[in-house]
Protein backbone atom coordinates (compact mmCIF):
# COMPACT_ATOMS: atom_id res chain seq x y z
CA UNK A 1 0.00 0.00 0.00
CA UNK A 2 3.07 2.22 0.36
CA UNK A 3 3.06 5.19 -1.93
CA UNK A 4 -0.48 4.33 -3.04
CA UNK A 5 -3.09 7.01 -2.26
CA UNK A 6 -5.87 5.77 -0.01
CA UNK A 7 -8.47 7.17 -2.35
CA UNK A 8 -8.27 8.32 -5.92
CA UNK A 9 -11.20 9.80 -7.88
CA UNK A 10 -10.68 9.91 -11.63
CA UNK A 11 -13.11 12.21 -13.41
CA UNK A 12 -16.03 10.95 -11.30
CA UNK A 13 -19.57 12.06 -12.13
CA UNK A 14 -22.79 11.03 -10.49
CA UNK A 15 -26.11 11.72 -12.14
CA UNK A 16 -29.42 10.92 -10.46
CA UNK A 17 -32.34 10.40 -12.80
CA UNK A 18 -35.42 11.93 -11.27
CA UNK A 19 -38.87 12.38 -12.81
CA UNK A 20 -38.22 16.11 -12.99
CA UNK A 21 -35.02 15.55 -14.92
CA UNK A 22 -31.44 14.49 -14.32
CA UNK A 23 -29.63 15.92 -11.32
CA UNK A 24 -25.86 16.12 -11.53
CA UNK A 25 -24.64 15.52 -7.98
CA UNK A 26 -20.96 15.21 -8.85
CA UNK A 27 -19.54 16.78 -11.97
CA UNK A 28 -16.18 15.42 -13.19
CA UNK A 29 -14.50 15.29 -9.81
CA UNK A 30 -10.88 14.21 -9.58
CA UNK A 31 -9.03 14.06 -6.27
CA UNK A 32 -6.67 11.97 -4.25
CA UNK A 33 -6.49 11.34 -0.53
CA UNK A 34 -3.10 10.34 0.77
CA UNK A 35 -2.60 8.13 3.83
CA UNK A 36 -2.66 10.07 7.09
CA UNK A 37 -4.49 13.09 5.75
CA UNK A 38 -7.21 14.92 7.70
CA UNK A 39 -9.58 16.49 5.19
CA UNK A 40 -12.69 18.62 5.69
CA UNK A 41 -15.24 18.68 2.88
CA UNK A 42 -17.23 21.92 2.96
CA UNK A 43 -19.99 23.32 0.86
CA UNK A 44 -23.59 24.53 0.96
CA UNK A 45 -26.43 22.03 1.29
CA UNK A 46 -27.18 20.24 -1.95
CA UNK A 47 -23.66 20.86 -3.22
CA UNK A 48 -22.83 17.12 -3.44
CA UNK A 49 -20.90 16.71 -0.15
CA UNK A 50 -22.89 13.69 0.92
CA UNK A 51 -22.68 12.10 -2.53
CA UNK A 52 -18.91 12.55 -2.44
CA UNK A 53 -18.71 10.98 1.00
CA UNK A 54 -20.97 8.05 -0.05
CA UNK A 55 -18.68 7.41 -3.03
CA UNK A 56 -15.61 7.50 -0.80
CA UNK A 57 -17.36 5.03 1.50
CA UNK A 58 -18.14 2.62 -1.35
CA UNK A 59 -21.82 3.01 -0.59
CA UNK A 60 -22.46 4.31 -4.09
CA UNK A 61 -20.77 3.82 -7.44
CA UNK A 62 -20.13 6.58 -9.99
CA UNK A 63 -22.16 7.04 -13.16
CA UNK A 64 -18.92 7.72 -15.02
CA UNK A 65 -15.30 7.86 -13.93
CA UNK A 66 -13.29 5.58 -11.69
CA UNK A 67 -12.69 5.34 -7.96
CA UNK A 68 -9.70 3.51 -6.50
CA UNK A 69 -9.61 2.55 -2.86
CA UNK A 70 -6.02 1.69 -1.90
CA UNK A 71 -5.36 1.07 -5.56
CA UNK A 72 -8.42 -1.19 -6.10
CA UNK A 73 -10.98 -0.04 -8.62
CA UNK A 74 -14.41 -0.36 -7.06
CA UNK A 75 -16.89 0.18 -9.87
CA UNK A 76 -16.93 -3.43 -11.10
CA UNK A 77 -17.30 -4.94 -7.65
CA UNK A 78 -20.27 -6.97 -6.45
CA UNK A 79 -22.42 -5.74 -3.61
CA UNK A 80 -20.87 -8.32 -1.28
CA UNK A 81 -17.34 -7.26 -2.21
CA UNK A 82 -18.17 -3.61 -1.60
CA UNK A 83 -19.76 -4.52 1.72
CA UNK A 84 -16.63 -6.38 2.83
CA UNK A 85 -14.47 -3.51 1.65
CA UNK A 86 -16.47 -1.13 3.85
CA UNK A 87 -16.31 -3.53 6.75
CA UNK A 88 -12.53 -4.02 6.62
CA UNK A 89 -11.18 -0.70 5.36
CA UNK A 90 -13.60 2.09 6.23
CA UNK A 91 -15.05 3.44 9.45
CA UNK A 92 -18.21 5.55 9.40
CA UNK A 93 -19.22 8.23 11.89
CA UNK A 94 -22.64 9.80 11.39
CA UNK A 95 -24.31 12.96 12.62
CA UNK A 96 -27.19 10.88 14.07
CA UNK A 97 -24.71 8.44 15.74
CA UNK A 98 -26.74 5.56 14.26
CA UNK A 99 -26.08 3.07 17.00
CA UNK A 100 -28.18 -0.09 17.00
CA UNK A 101 -30.71 0.60 19.76
CA UNK A 102 -31.12 -3.03 20.83
CA UNK A 103 -27.42 -3.57 21.43
CA UNK A 104 -25.39 -2.33 24.39
CA UNK A 105 -22.50 0.11 23.81
CA UNK A 106 -20.04 -2.79 23.91
CA UNK A 107 -22.13 -4.92 21.54
CA UNK A 108 -22.45 -2.03 19.10
CA UNK A 109 -18.67 -1.90 18.90
CA UNK A 110 -18.47 -5.69 18.69
CA UNK A 111 -20.92 -5.79 15.81
CA UNK A 112 -18.51 -4.99 12.94
CA UNK A 113 -15.79 -7.14 14.55
CA UNK A 114 -18.14 -10.12 14.70
CA UNK A 115 -19.12 -9.53 11.07
CA UNK A 116 -15.48 -9.50 10.03
CA UNK A 117 -13.76 -11.96 12.30
CA UNK A 118 -16.31 -13.82 14.37
CA UNK A 119 -16.84 -13.76 18.08
CA UNK A 120 -13.56 -14.96 19.54
CA UNK A 121 -11.67 -11.71 20.08
CA UNK A 122 -14.56 -9.34 19.58
CA UNK A 123 -15.16 -8.59 23.24
CA UNK A 124 -11.54 -7.86 24.01
CA UNK A 125 -11.05 -5.70 20.93
CA UNK A 126 -14.28 -3.78 21.59
CA UNK A 127 -13.18 -3.13 25.15
CA UNK A 128 -9.86 -1.80 23.90
CA UNK A 129 -11.35 0.65 21.42
CA UNK A 130 -13.99 1.82 23.87
CA UNK A 131 -11.19 2.57 26.33
CA UNK A 132 -9.35 4.42 23.57
CA UNK A 133 -12.32 6.77 23.09
CA UNK A 134 -12.43 7.30 26.88
CA UNK A 135 -15.85 5.78 27.53
CA UNK A 136 -16.38 4.93 31.19
CA UNK A 137 -16.51 1.10 31.66
CA UNK A 138 -19.67 1.52 33.69
CA UNK A 139 -21.41 2.58 30.51
CA UNK A 140 -20.35 -0.45 28.43
CA UNK A 141 -23.50 -2.37 29.17
CA UNK A 142 -25.82 0.57 28.59
CA UNK A 143 -28.07 0.73 25.57
CA UNK A 144 -27.70 3.82 23.31
CA UNK A 145 -30.97 5.25 24.68
CA UNK A 146 -29.33 5.44 28.11
CA UNK A 147 -26.30 7.39 26.87
CA UNK A 148 -25.82 11.11 26.23
CA UNK A 149 -25.15 12.40 22.70
CA UNK A 150 -21.44 12.76 23.37
CA UNK A 151 -21.23 9.25 24.84
CA UNK A 152 -23.12 7.84 21.86
CA UNK A 153 -20.74 9.53 19.43
CA UNK A 154 -17.78 8.11 21.35
CA UNK A 155 -19.29 4.65 20.96
CA UNK A 156 -19.84 5.38 17.25
CA UNK A 157 -16.20 6.38 16.82
CA UNK A 158 -15.13 3.25 18.68
CA UNK A 159 -17.29 1.24 16.30
CA UNK A 160 -15.68 2.99 13.33
CA UNK A 161 -12.25 2.04 14.70
CA UNK A 162 -13.24 -1.51 15.60
CA UNK A 163 -11.83 -3.26 12.53
CA UNK A 164 -8.78 -0.98 12.41
CA UNK A 165 -9.73 0.70 9.13
CA UNK A 166 -7.44 2.83 6.96
CA UNK A 167 -10.03 5.49 6.41
CA UNK A 168 -12.55 7.16 8.71
CA UNK A 169 -15.45 8.99 7.07
CA UNK A 170 -17.42 11.42 9.19
CA UNK A 171 -20.67 13.09 8.19
CA UNK A 172 -21.18 16.17 10.41
CA UNK A 173 -19.81 14.31 13.44
CA UNK A 174 -20.56 17.17 15.83
CA UNK A 175 -23.80 18.32 14.21
CA UNK A 176 -25.96 17.00 17.04
CA UNK A 177 -23.66 17.92 19.89
CA UNK A 178 -23.13 21.06 21.97
CA UNK A 179 -19.87 22.97 21.42
CA UNK A 180 -18.02 21.53 24.40
CA UNK A 181 -18.91 17.94 23.59
CA UNK A 182 -18.23 18.63 19.91
CA UNK A 183 -14.73 19.80 20.77
CA UNK A 184 -14.07 16.65 22.77
CA UNK A 185 -15.21 14.50 19.85
CA UNK A 186 -13.02 16.47 17.43
CA UNK A 187 -10.05 16.05 19.77
CA UNK A 188 -10.68 12.33 19.63
CA UNK A 189 -10.76 12.31 15.81
CA UNK A 190 -7.63 14.46 15.67
CA UNK A 191 -5.87 12.04 18.02
CA UNK A 192 -6.84 9.11 15.77
CA UNK A 193 -5.48 11.07 12.81
CA UNK A 194 -2.21 11.61 14.65
CA UNK A 195 -2.05 7.86 15.20
CA UNK A 196 -2.10 7.45 11.43
CA UNK A 197 -5.75 7.14 10.47
CA UNK A 198 -6.88 9.01 7.40
CA UNK A 199 -9.94 11.11 8.23
CA UNK A 200 -12.35 12.71 5.77
CA UNK A 201 -15.10 14.76 7.34
CA UNK A 202 -18.08 16.60 5.86
CA UNK A 203 -19.02 19.70 7.79
CA UNK A 204 -20.40 23.16 7.27
CA UNK A 205 -18.95 24.46 10.54
CA UNK A 206 -15.66 26.36 9.91
CA UNK A 207 -14.51 25.84 13.52
CA UNK A 208 -14.80 22.09 13.03
CA UNK A 209 -13.19 22.31 9.60
CA UNK A 210 -10.24 24.03 11.28
CA UNK A 211 -9.20 20.70 12.77
CA UNK A 212 -8.46 19.42 9.27
CA UNK A 213 -5.18 19.99 7.52
CA UNK A 214 -6.79 20.26 4.11
CA UNK A 215 -10.23 21.56 3.12
CA UNK A 216 -12.02 20.55 -0.05
CA UNK A 217 -14.77 22.95 -1.12
CA UNK A 218 -17.57 21.69 -3.29
CA UNK A 219 -20.26 23.76 -5.03
CA UNK A 220 -22.83 22.35 -7.44
CA UNK A 221 -20.95 19.08 -7.66
CA UNK A 222 -17.64 20.65 -8.59
CA UNK A 223 -14.55 21.05 -6.50
CA UNK A 224 -13.57 24.72 -6.18
Amino acid sequence: MSGEPILRFEDVSKVYSLPAGDVVALDHVSLTVEPGEFIAVMGPSGSGKSTLLNMMGCLDVPTTGKIYLSGQEISGMSDDDLTRLRRDHIGFVFQQFNLIPLLSALENVEFPIVLARGREESRQRATEVLAAVHLDDALFSHRPGELSGGEQQRVAIARALANDPDLILCDEPTGNLDTKTGTAIMDLLAAENRRGKTVVMVTHDPRIAAYARRTIRIVDGRLV
Binding site: L59, D60, D80, R86, F92, I100, F111, P112, N163
Partner: protein
Protein backbone atom coordinates in the same frame (compact mmCIF):
# COMPACT_ATOMS: atom_id res chain seq x y z
CA UNK B 1 -20.95 -18.42 14.98
CA UNK B 2 -20.86 -15.06 13.29
CA UNK B 3 -24.57 -14.75 12.83
CA UNK B 4 -25.28 -15.22 16.52
CA UNK B 5 -25.24 -11.48 17.07
CA UNK B 6 -27.92 -11.23 14.37
CA UNK B 7 -29.90 -13.98 16.04
CA UNK B 8 -29.62 -12.09 19.34
CA UNK B 9 -30.84 -8.98 17.63
CA UNK B 10 -33.83 -10.81 16.16
CA UNK B 11 -34.80 -12.18 19.55
CA UNK B 12 -34.35 -8.79 21.25
CA UNK B 13 -36.45 -7.14 18.61
CA UNK B 14 -39.27 -9.62 19.23
CA UNK B 15 -38.99 -9.02 22.96
CA UNK B 16 -39.06 -5.28 22.49
CA UNK B 17 -42.48 -5.65 20.85
CA UNK B 18 -43.84 -8.31 23.15
CA UNK B 19 -47.50 -7.64 22.48
CA UNK B 20 -47.06 -7.52 18.74
CA UNK B 21 -44.95 -10.66 18.70
CA UNK B 22 -47.35 -12.56 20.92
CA UNK B 23 -50.30 -11.54 18.76
CA UNK B 24 -48.52 -12.75 15.65
CA UNK B 25 -47.65 -15.96 17.45
CA UNK B 26 -51.26 -16.51 18.49
CA UNK B 27 -52.11 -16.81 14.82
CA UNK B 28 -49.61 -19.63 14.45
CA UNK B 29 -50.79 -21.23 17.69
CA UNK B 30 -54.35 -21.28 16.40
CA UNK B 31 -53.26 -22.58 13.02
CA UNK B 32 -51.21 -25.42 14.46
CA UNK B 33 -53.96 -26.16 16.95
CA UNK B 34 -56.51 -26.30 14.16
CA UNK B 35 -54.47 -28.57 11.93
CA UNK B 36 -53.32 -30.90 14.66
CA UNK B 37 -56.48 -31.20 16.73
CA UNK B 38 -58.77 -31.42 13.73
CA UNK B 39 -56.49 -34.07 12.27
CA UNK B 40 -56.59 -35.94 15.58
CA UNK B 41 -60.34 -35.61 15.76
CA UNK B 42 -60.70 -36.92 12.21
CA UNK B 43 -58.37 -39.80 12.99
CA UNK B 44 -60.29 -40.57 16.19
CA UNK B 45 -63.59 -40.61 14.36
CA UNK B 46 -62.24 -42.88 11.72
CA UNK B 47 -60.63 -45.12 14.33
CA UNK B 48 -63.92 -45.34 16.18
CA UNK B 49 -65.98 -46.14 13.14
CA UNK B 50 -63.28 -48.21 11.50
CA UNK B 51 -63.02 -50.32 14.65
CA UNK B 52 -66.63 -51.24 14.58
CA UNK B 53 -66.77 -51.93 10.89
CA UNK B 54 -63.72 -54.14 10.87
CA UNK B 55 -65.45 -56.37 13.42
CA UNK B 56 -67.96 -57.46 10.83
CA UNK B 57 -65.80 -57.61 7.77
CA UNK B 58 -66.89 -61.20 7.27
CA UNK B 59 -70.52 -60.29 6.86
CA UNK B 60 -72.88 -60.22 3.93
CA UNK B 61 -76.21 -58.60 4.52
CA UNK B 62 -79.24 -59.57 2.47
CA UNK B 63 -82.22 -57.25 2.76
CA UNK B 64 -85.48 -57.07 0.85
CA UNK B 65 -85.01 -54.98 -2.22
CA UNK B 66 -86.24 -51.47 -1.66
CA UNK B 67 -88.13 -50.54 -4.77
CA UNK B 68 -88.20 -46.96 -3.75
CA UNK B 69 -84.97 -45.15 -3.42
CA UNK B 70 -86.10 -41.62 -3.70
CA UNK B 71 -83.26 -40.44 -1.53
CA UNK B 72 -85.73 -39.03 0.93
CA UNK B 73 -85.35 -40.83 4.23
CA UNK B 74 -88.89 -39.84 5.14
CA UNK B 75 -90.47 -41.20 1.98
CA UNK B 76 -93.39 -43.19 3.44
CA UNK B 77 -92.97 -45.91 0.84
CA UNK B 78 -89.66 -46.81 2.43
CA UNK B 79 -91.37 -48.30 5.46
CA UNK B 80 -93.63 -50.65 3.59
CA UNK B 81 -93.10 -53.93 5.31
CA UNK B 82 -91.07 -56.23 3.20
CA UNK B 83 -89.69 -59.62 4.01
CA UNK B 84 -87.60 -62.35 2.57
CA UNK B 85 -89.64 -65.43 1.88
CA UNK B 86 -88.67 -68.90 3.10
CA UNK B 87 -88.08 -69.90 -0.49
CA UNK B 88 -85.61 -67.09 -0.95
CA UNK B 89 -83.89 -67.97 2.33
CA UNK B 90 -83.51 -71.48 0.96
CA UNK B 91 -82.02 -70.07 -2.22
CA UNK B 92 -79.59 -67.95 -0.18
CA UNK B 93 -78.57 -71.03 1.82
CA UNK B 94 -77.96 -72.86 -1.40
CA UNK B 95 -75.87 -70.01 -2.80
CA UNK B 96 -73.93 -69.53 0.43
CA UNK B 97 -72.72 -73.13 0.44
CA UNK B 98 -70.90 -73.95 3.67
CA UNK B 99 -71.15 -70.42 5.03
CA UNK B 100 -73.52 -69.77 7.89
CA UNK B 101 -76.86 -68.19 6.93
CA UNK B 102 -78.72 -66.45 9.72
CA UNK B 103 -82.24 -65.26 8.95
CA UNK B 104 -83.58 -62.83 11.46
CA UNK B 105 -86.73 -60.94 12.18
CA UNK B 106 -86.63 -57.53 13.65
CA UNK B 107 -89.46 -55.76 15.39
CA UNK B 108 -90.17 -53.53 18.36
CA UNK B 109 -91.97 -54.39 21.59
CA UNK B 110 -93.06 -52.58 24.66
CA UNK B 111 -90.77 -53.09 27.60
CA UNK B 112 -91.77 -52.38 31.18
CA UNK B 113 -89.25 -52.40 34.00
CA UNK B 114 -90.58 -51.12 37.26
CA UNK B 115 -91.93 -47.65 36.53
CA UNK B 116 -90.02 -47.31 33.29
CA UNK B 117 -91.51 -48.31 30.01
CA UNK B 118 -90.83 -47.83 26.34
CA UNK B 119 -90.26 -49.56 23.07
CA UNK B 120 -87.15 -51.52 22.37
CA UNK B 121 -85.72 -53.17 19.30
CA UNK B 122 -86.26 -56.91 19.28
CA UNK B 123 -84.21 -59.39 17.28
CA UNK B 124 -85.76 -62.79 16.78
CA UNK B 125 -83.29 -65.45 15.72
CA UNK B 126 -83.13 -69.18 15.53
CA UNK B 127 -81.86 -70.41 18.93
CA UNK B 128 -78.84 -72.03 17.30
CA UNK B 129 -77.83 -68.79 15.63
CA UNK B 130 -77.82 -66.66 18.76
CA UNK B 131 -74.59 -68.02 20.27
CA UNK B 132 -73.00 -67.76 16.86
CA UNK B 133 -73.73 -64.04 16.57
CA UNK B 134 -73.52 -62.92 20.20
CA UNK B 135 -71.46 -63.56 23.27
CA UNK B 136 -73.17 -63.92 26.58
CA UNK B 137 -71.81 -61.63 29.25
CA UNK B 138 -73.86 -63.35 31.92
CA UNK B 139 -76.46 -66.08 32.10
CA UNK B 140 -77.31 -68.16 29.08
CA UNK B 141 -78.75 -67.87 25.64
CA UNK B 142 -82.53 -68.06 25.19
CA UNK B 143 -83.78 -71.49 24.27
CA UNK B 144 -86.82 -72.19 22.12
CA UNK B 145 -88.59 -74.06 24.90
CA UNK B 146 -88.37 -71.27 27.47
CA UNK B 147 -89.99 -67.86 27.26
CA UNK B 148 -86.85 -66.13 28.69
CA UNK B 149 -85.13 -63.32 26.79
CA UNK B 150 -81.61 -62.01 26.44
CA UNK B 151 -80.98 -58.26 26.75
CA UNK B 152 -78.20 -56.08 25.37
CA UNK B 153 -75.56 -55.04 27.86
CA UNK B 154 -76.21 -51.31 27.65
CA UNK B 155 -79.94 -51.77 28.01
CA UNK B 156 -79.28 -53.96 31.03
CA UNK B 157 -76.97 -51.38 32.47
CA UNK B 158 -79.40 -48.50 31.93
CA UNK B 159 -82.36 -50.38 33.39
CA UNK B 160 -80.34 -52.09 36.09
CA UNK B 161 -81.21 -55.55 34.87
CA UNK B 162 -79.38 -58.70 35.74
CA UNK B 163 -79.84 -62.37 35.03
CA UNK B 164 -83.09 -63.46 36.65
CA UNK B 165 -84.70 -60.00 36.60
CA UNK B 166 -88.35 -60.03 35.68
CA UNK B 167 -89.47 -57.62 33.01
CA UNK B 168 -92.69 -56.78 31.25
CA UNK B 169 -92.17 -57.69 27.61
CA UNK B 170 -94.92 -57.57 24.99
CA UNK B 171 -97.57 -57.62 27.70
CA UNK B 172 -96.08 -60.69 29.32
CA UNK B 173 -93.90 -61.07 32.32
CA UNK B 174 -90.65 -62.78 31.35
CA UNK B 175 -87.30 -63.46 32.90
CA UNK B 176 -83.98 -62.18 31.71
CA UNK B 177 -82.00 -65.34 31.10
CA UNK B 178 -78.84 -63.75 29.78
CA UNK B 179 -77.06 -60.52 29.02
CA UNK B 180 -75.34 -60.11 25.67
CA UNK B 181 -71.83 -58.71 25.75
CA UNK B 182 -71.38 -55.23 24.39
CA UNK B 183 -70.75 -55.52 20.68
CA UNK B 184 -70.94 -52.05 19.19
CA UNK B 185 -72.78 -51.03 16.09
CA UNK B 186 -72.46 -53.39 13.20
CA UNK B 187 -73.95 -53.55 9.79
CA UNK B 188 -75.89 -56.68 10.77
CA UNK B 189 -77.38 -56.16 14.22
CA UNK B 190 -77.02 -53.69 17.05
CA UNK B 191 -77.83 -55.72 20.11
CA UNK B 192 -76.56 -53.42 22.86
CA UNK B 193 -79.88 -51.67 23.41
CA UNK B 194 -82.04 -54.51 22.13
CA UNK B 195 -83.84 -57.58 23.38
CA UNK B 196 -82.91 -60.87 21.75
CA UNK B 197 -85.48 -63.63 21.59
CA UNK B 198 -85.88 -66.88 19.73
CA UNK B 199 -87.88 -66.97 16.55
CA UNK B 200 -90.28 -69.35 18.27
CA UNK B 201 -91.91 -66.23 19.70
CA UNK B 202 -92.93 -65.07 16.23
CA UNK B 203 -94.11 -68.16 14.42
CA UNK B 204 -94.94 -67.72 10.77
CA UNK B 205 -93.09 -64.41 10.40
CA UNK B 206 -90.75 -64.24 7.44
CA UNK B 207 -87.28 -62.87 8.20
CA UNK B 208 -86.68 -59.19 7.56
CA UNK B 209 -83.07 -59.78 6.72
CA UNK B 210 -80.54 -62.50 6.32
CA UNK B 211 -76.97 -62.29 7.53
CA UNK B 212 -74.39 -64.51 5.90
CA UNK B 213 -71.16 -65.04 7.83
CA UNK B 214 -68.44 -65.90 5.38
CA UNK B 215 -65.72 -68.13 6.80
CA UNK B 216 -62.97 -66.82 4.57
CA UNK B 217 -63.26 -63.07 3.84
CA UNK B 218 -61.64 -63.71 0.47
CA UNK B 219 -64.82 -65.52 -0.59
CA UNK B 220 -67.07 -62.55 0.09
CA UNK B 221 -67.27 -61.37 -3.49
CA UNK B 222 -67.97 -64.85 -4.79
CA UNK B 223 -70.66 -65.61 -2.22
CA UNK B 224 -72.25 -62.27 -2.85
CA UNK B 225 -72.41 -62.85 -6.56
CA UNK B 226 -73.83 -66.33 -6.02
CA UNK B 227 -76.64 -65.03 -3.79
CA UNK B 228 -77.42 -62.30 -6.24
CA UNK B 229 -77.52 -64.80 -9.09
CA UNK B 230 -79.73 -67.24 -7.21
CA UNK B 231 -82.29 -64.91 -5.67
CA UNK B 232 -82.44 -62.06 -8.11
CA UNK B 233 -82.48 -64.23 -11.18
CA UNK B 234 -85.86 -63.17 -12.43
CA UNK B 235 -86.74 -60.20 -10.36
CA UNK B 236 -84.78 -57.88 -8.11
CA UNK B 237 -85.94 -59.33 -4.81
CA UNK B 238 -83.09 -58.64 -2.41
CA UNK B 239 -80.24 -56.21 -1.97
CA UNK B 240 -76.91 -57.81 -1.15
CA UNK B 241 -74.43 -55.68 0.70
CA UNK B 242 -71.08 -56.79 1.96
CA UNK B 243 -69.27 -55.22 4.84
CA UNK B 244 -66.27 -54.29 2.74
CA UNK B 245 -68.43 -51.94 0.76
CA UNK B 246 -69.70 -50.45 3.96
CA UNK B 247 -66.15 -50.24 5.25
CA UNK B 248 -64.98 -48.50 2.11
CA UNK B 249 -67.85 -46.08 2.31
CA UNK B 250 -66.97 -45.32 5.93
CA UNK B 251 -63.32 -44.79 5.12
CA UNK B 252 -64.10 -42.60 2.16
CA UNK B 253 -66.37 -40.48 4.31
CA UNK B 254 -63.83 -40.31 7.10
CA UNK B 255 -61.04 -39.39 4.72
CA UNK B 256 -63.19 -36.63 3.32
CA UNK B 257 -63.95 -35.36 6.83
CA UNK B 258 -60.27 -35.47 7.82
CA UNK B 259 -59.27 -33.67 4.68
CA UNK B 260 -61.92 -31.05 5.22
CA UNK B 261 -60.79 -30.50 8.81
CA UNK B 262 -57.17 -30.26 7.70
CA UNK B 263 -58.26 -27.78 5.07
CA UNK B 264 -59.77 -25.58 7.76
CA UNK B 265 -56.47 -25.82 9.61
CA UNK B 266 -54.52 -24.88 6.52
CA UNK B 267 -56.70 -21.83 5.97
CA UNK B 268 -56.13 -20.71 9.55
CA UNK B 269 -52.38 -21.13 9.12
CA UNK B 270 -52.55 -19.10 5.95
CA UNK B 271 -54.25 -16.33 7.90
CA UNK B 272 -51.57 -16.71 10.59
CA UNK B 273 -48.79 -16.36 8.07
CA UNK B 274 -50.41 -13.21 6.71
CA UNK B 275 -50.32 -11.79 10.23
CA UNK B 276 -46.63 -12.70 10.55
CA UNK B 277 -46.01 -11.13 7.18
CA UNK B 278 -47.69 -7.99 8.44
CA UNK B 279 -45.64 -7.87 11.64
CA UNK B 280 -42.44 -8.47 9.72
CA UNK B 281 -43.18 -5.77 7.16
CA UNK B 282 -43.79 -3.36 10.03
CA UNK B 283 -40.57 -4.47 11.69
CA UNK B 284 -38.55 -3.95 8.49
CA UNK B 285 -40.06 -0.51 7.98
CA UNK B 286 -39.36 0.54 11.55
CA UNK B 287 -35.80 -0.66 11.37
CA UNK B 288 -34.97 0.74 7.95
CA UNK B 289 -32.28 3.07 9.32
CA UNK B 290 -30.81 0.29 11.40
CA UNK B 291 -30.66 -1.94 8.31
CA UNK B 292 -28.99 0.88 6.37
CA UNK B 293 -26.43 1.22 9.14
CA UNK B 294 -25.72 -2.50 9.29
CA UNK B 295 -25.30 -2.65 5.55
CA UNK B 296 -22.97 0.35 5.52
CA UNK B 297 -20.72 -0.95 8.26
CA UNK B 298 -20.30 -4.35 6.68
CA UNK B 299 -23.32 -6.64 6.95
CA UNK B 300 -23.88 -8.42 3.64
CA UNK B 301 -27.39 -8.76 2.24
CA UNK B 302 -27.42 -12.41 3.23
CA UNK B 303 -26.90 -11.49 6.89
CA UNK B 304 -29.79 -9.05 6.91
CA UNK B 305 -31.91 -11.71 5.26
CA UNK B 306 -30.89 -14.26 7.88
CA UNK B 307 -31.67 -11.86 10.71
CA UNK B 308 -35.24 -11.25 9.58
CA UNK B 309 -35.84 -14.88 8.62
CA UNK B 310 -34.69 -15.78 12.07
CA UNK B 311 -37.21 -13.40 13.55
CA UNK B 312 -39.97 -15.14 11.59
CA UNK B 313 -38.55 -18.52 12.56
CA UNK B 314 -38.61 -17.66 16.27
CA UNK B 315 -42.25 -16.61 15.97
CA UNK B 316 -43.01 -19.82 14.09
CA UNK B 317 -41.15 -22.14 16.44
CA UNK B 318 -42.54 -20.61 19.65
CA UNK B 319 -46.04 -20.45 18.19
CA UNK B 320 -45.81 -24.02 16.95
CA UNK B 321 -44.57 -25.34 20.28
CA UNK B 322 -47.41 -23.60 22.10
CA UNK B 323 -49.82 -24.85 19.44
CA UNK B 324 -48.43 -28.38 19.69
CA UNK B 325 -48.85 -28.49 23.46
CA UNK B 326 -52.37 -27.09 23.22
CA UNK B 327 -53.31 -29.53 20.46
CA UNK B 328 -52.10 -32.45 22.52
CA UNK B 329 -54.56 -31.32 25.21
CA UNK B 330 -57.39 -30.35 22.91
CA UNK B 331 -56.88 -33.42 20.72
CA UNK B 332 -57.05 -35.62 23.77
CA UNK B 333 -60.28 -34.05 24.98
CA UNK B 334 -61.74 -33.98 21.49
CA UNK B 335 -61.03 -37.69 21.14
CA UNK B 336 -62.45 -38.35 24.55
CA UNK B 337 -65.52 -36.33 23.66
CA UNK B 338 -65.87 -38.14 20.35
CA UNK B 339 -65.70 -41.53 22.00
CA UNK B 340 -68.04 -40.34 24.74
CA UNK B 341 -70.47 -39.16 22.10
CA UNK B 342 -70.32 -42.21 19.91
CA UNK B 343 -68.74 -44.73 22.23
CA UNK B 344 -72.02 -45.48 23.97
CA UNK B 345 -73.25 -47.41 21.02
CA UNK B 346 -70.38 -47.40 18.61
CA UNK B 347 -67.09 -48.57 19.87
CA UNK B 348 -66.43 -50.99 22.66
CA UNK B 349 -64.08 -49.32 25.09
CA UNK B 350 -64.12 -46.10 23.10
CA UNK B 351 -61.06 -46.83 20.99
CA UNK B 352 -59.63 -43.44 20.02
CA UNK B 353 -56.83 -42.44 17.68
CA UNK B 354 -53.59 -44.13 18.61
CA UNK B 355 -50.58 -42.33 20.15
CA UNK B 356 -48.36 -42.31 17.03
CA UNK B 357 -51.18 -40.95 14.88
CA UNK B 358 -51.78 -38.14 17.37
CA UNK B 359 -48.07 -37.31 17.58
CA UNK B 360 -47.93 -37.43 13.79
CA UNK B 361 -50.70 -34.89 13.41
CA UNK B 362 -49.15 -32.61 16.03
CA UNK B 363 -45.76 -32.85 14.33
CA UNK B 364 -47.41 -32.20 10.99
CA UNK B 365 -49.18 -29.13 12.37
CA UNK B 366 -45.97 -27.83 13.92
CA UNK B 367 -43.91 -28.35 10.79
CA UNK B 368 -46.64 -26.63 8.83
CA UNK B 369 -46.69 -23.75 11.31
CA UNK B 370 -42.93 -23.27 11.15
CA UNK B 371 -42.93 -23.51 7.37
CA UNK B 372 -45.78 -21.01 7.14
CA UNK B 373 -43.83 -18.54 9.32
CA UNK B 374 -40.69 -18.92 7.26
CA UNK B 375 -42.58 -18.43 4.03
CA UNK B 376 -44.26 -15.36 5.54
CA UNK B 377 -40.85 -14.05 6.60
CA UNK B 378 -39.28 -14.49 3.18
CA UNK B 379 -40.71 -11.42 1.50
CA UNK B 380 -40.00 -8.92 4.32
CA UNK B 381 -36.53 -10.39 4.84
CA UNK B 382 -35.80 -10.18 1.14
CA UNK B 383 -37.11 -6.63 1.08
CA UNK B 384 -34.86 -5.70 4.00
CA UNK B 385 -31.85 -7.28 2.32
CA UNK B 386 -32.49 -5.36 -0.88
CA UNK B 387 -32.61 -1.95 0.81
CA UNK B 388 -30.16 0.57 -0.56
CA UNK B 389 -27.94 1.50 2.40
CA UNK B 390 -27.81 5.20 1.52
CA UNK B 391 -31.56 5.57 1.21
CA UNK B 392 -32.13 3.39 4.27
CA UNK B 393 -29.79 5.59 6.33
CA UNK B 394 -31.68 8.67 5.23
CA UNK B 395 -35.06 7.14 6.14
CA UNK B 396 -36.92 9.05 8.83
Amino acid sequence: MRDRILVNLAVRNLRRHTVRSVLAMIGIVIGVLAIASLGILGASLSALVGGLVSDVSDTILVTPHVAVSSGDPFDPRNILASRISDRDVALIEKAAGPNRVIPMFRTAERLVVGDTSGYVTVYALHPDDIPFLLDAEAGRYPASASPGVMVGSLLAEDLDLSVGSRIGFANESVRVTGIAAERGMGIDINPDYAVIVTDARYPGEDPGMVVVKVGDPADIGEVKAAIDAQVNRRKEKVDVLDSREVLELYYETMDAISLFLLGIGAVSLFVASVSILNVMVISVTERTREIGLMRSIGAERRRVLVMFLFEALVLGVLGSIAGGVLSALVGYYASAAASGLLGGFVAPGGAAATGPAVAGYIAFGMVFGIAASLVAGLYPAWKAAQLNPIEALRYE
